[in-house]
């Protein structure tokens, strides 16, 4: 039997004819560009890909791709995408959202798509601010962020997208950053390969309203001390000389330096496939300045997808009745 071969696609094949309208210097350009590179190597026909988005700057992304796209309402993209997968499970469906979209208006829809394990690739562009609405505090704004709605600095406790996704029983949870293009490609490819709901938080710089908020994670001179790159089965080390690491003291994580009685045996080993998300949750809570922040895959486990569970459930119980029988119901009678 001949194997159907797909025409080779290039990143440019995924460009639409629309002019990209993000602000100069926006992190979204980098994400779009890496995304096209990844899409080109997925071996999925372009017509089977759909990008579903909500509102905000991130929500415009589908217009710049030549795949199918649906630009929905504030926060509802996960629900739209779930319906789309129900209608046609063969499609590869991506959800593009932002911190305002996914966590203000759409938190309900996000957590339910994750817990159902719908086979979606959910990309949350987190810039910790409302951009397209022109600069208001978002649910991820870190304390002290000055915006039009937090003139004296934001004082509400921010949500942590990775912690939320883990609590919502997501089966794939990862974080990457707009300017680290190789790392982003790697994470996006893993998300695309995951069967079930894949959640990726992408730190994304908003040049206009929140510039430099992730500088600690992008500045080459310091990022070795402020970021841990998660690698499955490897010790959680960081630092220019990779001589610092994380260890557990009771339930508390500790950043320690090797030596003076601290050996590699003390350092936590990353396990993205752990059946319980306890370690992943602990890692999701690490923030500067006392801890490095984690980039990479926090959790990647297999659980039946929503579609698989639907199919299984359909086979249980009584088989479906013929439609004619259904129409006639349990009790019917003939009048001659």
């Amino acid at each position: 039997m001949a194997t159907a071969t797909l025409p080779l696609l290039t990143p440019n094949d995924f460009s639409s004819d629309r002019e990209v309208r993000w602000c100069p210097g926006c992190g979204d350009f980098s994400i779009l560009s890496q995304l096209k590179k990844v899409l080109a190597v997925l071996n999925v026909p372009r017509e089977k890909m759909v990008f579903v988005s909500g509102l905000g700057c991130a929500g415009r992304l589908p217009y710049y791709l030549s795949t199918y796209g649906f630009h929905g309402s504030y926060g509802r993209a996960p629900a739209l995408a779930t319906g789309l997968k129900l209608a046609n499970p063969d499609l590869q469906v991506w959800v593009v959202t932002g911190d305002g979209d996914a966590l203000s208006a759409g938190a309900t829809h996000l957590i339910h798509a994750l817990r159902r394990n719908v086979d979606l690739k959910i990309l949350l562009f987190n810039n910790e601010v409302f951009g397209l609405s022109k600069g208001q505090a978002s649910p991820t704004a870190r304390p002290g962020t000055r915006t039009k709605t937090s003139p004296e600095g934001s004082f509400e406790t921010p949500l942590r997208p990775i912690s939320l996704a883990l609590a919502a029983e997501a089966t794939f949870v990862a974080r990457t950053i707009d300017v680290d293009v190789n790392h982003m490609s790697e994470v996006l490819e893993k998300a695309a390969a995951h069967r079930g709901a894949a959640f990726v938080e992408i730190y994304q710089n908003c040049k206009i309203f929140n510039d430099g908020v992730f500088e600690y994670a992008t500045d080459a001179s310091i990022k070795t001390d402020t970021v841990i790159y998660l690698e499955h089965g490897r010790p959680l080390l960081f630092g220019r000389d990779r001589n610092q690491g994380l260890r557990l003291n009771g339930f508390e994580p500790e950043a320690v330096t090797l030596g003076h009685g601290i050996t590699m045996d003390d350092i936590l080993i990353h396990d993205e496939r752990a059946s319980e998300p306890t370690l992943a949750f602990l890692l999701s809570r690490l923030i500067g300045p006392h801890f490095p922040e984690c980039l990479g895959v926090f959790r990647s486990v297999q659980r039946p997808t929503h579609q698989q569970l639907l199919d299984e459930s359909f086979l249980q119980g009584d088989p479906p009745r013929l439609f004619e029988k259904l129409l006639a119901g349990d009790e019917s009678w003939l009048v001659a």
């Binding site: 988005s53 589908p62 199918y68 509802r76 629900a79 739209l80 119901g329």
Partner: protein, 637 residues
């Protein structure tokens, strides 16, 4: 209740008492009637919904036409014996066509004092009253608010009382079966059912079949409930007091297969028929909100291979799920009510903008806000027509009777697909919870629904917002090579579908979306009139008031009055001849279960000064309420 109200003419003319009439006649006598309205009432735990459903089934199977109205309490289990916990189920069964579950009761079965107290005002003098005397004890009487025992104080003297110690008789019936107290209590409803089945000369077979199916895994309960049922059936024959059997002859019907169908079942079957007829997958998303959740339950119950049903996280998610499915090439449907329908306004706007076919069923309930969740109202009409930001026209239909749910669901699917638009179907608990006899259509009787998925054409750039002769845009399904496009909530450039802020394009698109809905009028039937084609008075209704209006107008016509009735199933767009029909009558009466919403629409559209008859009590119109208004208008004509 004022006594004069009790003497109002009945809905249907009746041959009174052919054979022995009076209460004093011996058991075994049979009285013939054209129609009977009976209500079963008891505590929430007394199984009245079950008794009512089974009694209806037996009546329908016997060949009567039936129309029912369940009236369950809002609380799952109110305190035992409390008025708030009274559960009712009304059945109107007849040998000729009937339109409503009936205004007044010919018979009442009351399982306790609270059920008697709550329902006695609706009982006709001289009507049959069946009472479970075992519950008329001091505590229960007190809970119902009776100062003295109505069985002894003369309150019930004007009724044909059949007093039976049902607890005791039932206990005797199941004495030889090993049951726990709760199961014995459950059997009591079967005793009451048996009694009612005998009194109205219904066969037991349908109920016995149901018992065997329901308790297939519990032979003890089969034995016990069968004994109770039989005991009720046989014991009633031996009861001393006026055990006159009442018989309602079979109705003459067109040949065919018949069943009884509730509005929720009919809607569900209609949706499934649309999927069956078109071959489209059906995706139904619903959030549990009474009374709309009954449709969600039915879809889970009637599982079919090309149908997917999902319980959504909220009603807004439900419509987004449906809309996402429609984008994917399925027929996306949701059913909601009350606050859920308000939530969906946002997604309806998206559906109008993205021009995708989906169906929203709104089972209107008494509002605003949580309102009275279990009660029916028609107060969402203006919300359905206009309740979205921006110029946002869509198609609005309303189902007239329980069985009409089947046709209206098919019609909604047809129009949604043909016009590429969301369609709202307005219903209420009165029609979705009610049931009636229905001739089951054969598969080749189902209407044709034309589905045209877009196909790529070589050399041409695909125009996702191009238009066909109905001004519908193409339905291009993801997965189709060459038709990749983006849709969504932003204004589209005509043709290309690209995002456009151009002011003139926006105006053109606003007009095109409106014209598309207006054009749908060419495919919908004209408004039909029952009665004189012109004259003094037209009664125009929509939705669930159909039955009460039809019955009232027919009664007045029989009395020689010049009055006609017409009913709107399409509310947007209105049938083409609506304005002409209205202008042919000197007066137009519009009865509605709201503060006059259709009246506003008609005045606005046709400059006709219609007379509004408004009722906002969470209850349907009584036939006589409409009849009185007709008489009043014709008197002053």
């Amino acid at each position: 209740m004022a006594t004069h109200e009790r003497r109002v003419a009945r809905e249907t003319p009746r041959k009174t008492a052919v054979r022995p009439t009076a209460a004093s006649k011996p058991a075994g006598a049979i009285e013939e009637r054209d129609a009977v309205v009976i209500r079963f009432a008891g505590d929430a735990g007394d199984g009245m919904q079950l008794v009512g459903t089974q009694f209806t089934m037996a009546s329908a199977a016997h060949g009567n036409l039936v129309c029912t109205l369940p009236d369950p309490p809002a609380e799952i289990r109110a305190p035992v014996g409390a008025l708030a916990g009274v559960s009712g189920f009304q059945v109107h069964f007849s040998s000729h066509a009937i339109h409503t579950p009936g205004d007044r009761l010919d018979a009442l079965l009351a399982m306790n004092p609270a059920a008697l107290k709550a329902n006695l005002p609706d009982l006709e003098p001289g009507a049959l009253l069946i009472v479970n005397t075992d519950t008329f004890l001091p505590d229960e009487l007190h809970a119902a608010g009776y100062a003295s025992n109505p069985l002894q104080d003369g309150l019930l003297d004007s009724y044909r009382l059949l007093a039976a110690p049902m607890d005791q008789l039932n206990r005797e019936a199941v004495a030889k079966v090993k049951l726990i107290a709760r199961e014995t209590g459950r059997c009591k409803s079967f005793f009451a059912l048996g009694l009612a089945l005998w009194l109205f000369d219904r066969p037991l077979d349908a109920t016995l079949r149901w018992i065997r199916d329901t308790y297939a895994k519990n032979p003890v309960m089969i034995e016990a409930t069968t004994r109770s049922l039989n005991a009720g059936y046989q014991r009633s024959a031996a009861l001393r007091t006026p055990a006159v059997q009442v018989r309602v002859a079979k109705a003459e019907s067109e040949p065919g297969r018949y069943r009884q169908v509730s509005g929720a079942e009919a809607l569900t079957l209609g949706l499934l028929a649309a999927a069956h007829r078109t071959g489209l997958p059906l995706v139904f998303a619903g959030f549990p909100l009474a009374p709309a959740s009954e449709i969600l339950h039915q879809l889970f119950e009637m599982k079919q291979p090309n149908v997917k049903v999902i319980q959504a996280e909220d009603d807004l998610a439900a419509l987004n799920l449906a809309l996402g499915a429609s984008f994917g090439g399925a027929l996306g449907v949701t059913a909601t009510t009350g606050p859920g329908f308000s939530l969906q306004s946002e997604a309806l706007g998206l559906a109008v903008m993205s021009e995708l076919p989906c169906v929203v069923i709104d089972v209107q309930r008494a509002g605003p806000s949580t309102g009275i969740p279990s009660k029916a109202e028609q107060a969402d009409l203006l919300l359905a027509l206009h309740g979205r930001h921006g110029e946002c026209p869509l198609i609005v239909l309303a189902m007239a009777t329980p069985s009409d749910g089947f046709a209206i669901a098919l019609e909604a699917a047809r129009l949604a697909i043909r016009c590429m638009t969301p369609v709202i179907v307005l219903a209420d608990a009165y029609v979705t919870g009610g049931a009636e006899t229905w001739r089951v259509p054969t598969l080749d009787e189902l209407p044709a629904i034309d589905v045209r998925h877009a196909k790529p054409s070589a050399g041409k750039t695909f125009q996702p917002y191009g238009r066909d002769e109905h001004l519908a845009r193409p339905w291009a399904i993801p997965g189709t090579p060459g038709l990749e496009h983006r849709t969504g909530g932003m204004e589209k450039e005509a043709g290309t579908g690209n995002v456009s802020y151009n002011p003139l394009n926006h105006e053109e698109m606003v007009q095109t979306r409106a014209r598309k809905i207006d054009l749908a009028v060419d495919t919908i039937p004209p408004l039909e009139v029952n009665g004189p084609p012109q004259g003094d008075l037209l009664v125009l209704g929509w939705g669930s008031t159909y039955g009460a209006i039809a019955a009232a107008v027919e009664r007045c016509q029989r009395k020689g009055m010049s009055v006609a009735a017409a009913h709107l199933r399409h509310l947007s767009p209105l049938p083409k001849n609506t304005g002409d029909v209205l202008k042919r009558y000197r007066k137009v009466l519009v009865p509605e279960l709201n503060a006059g919403q259709l009246s506003k629409v008609l005045r606005d559209a046709f400059l006709v000064d219609v007379v509004s008859l408004s009722k906002v009590q969470g209850r349907p119109f009584l036939v006589r309420e409409i009849e009185q208004k007709i008489e009043e208008l014709l008197r002053n004509a």
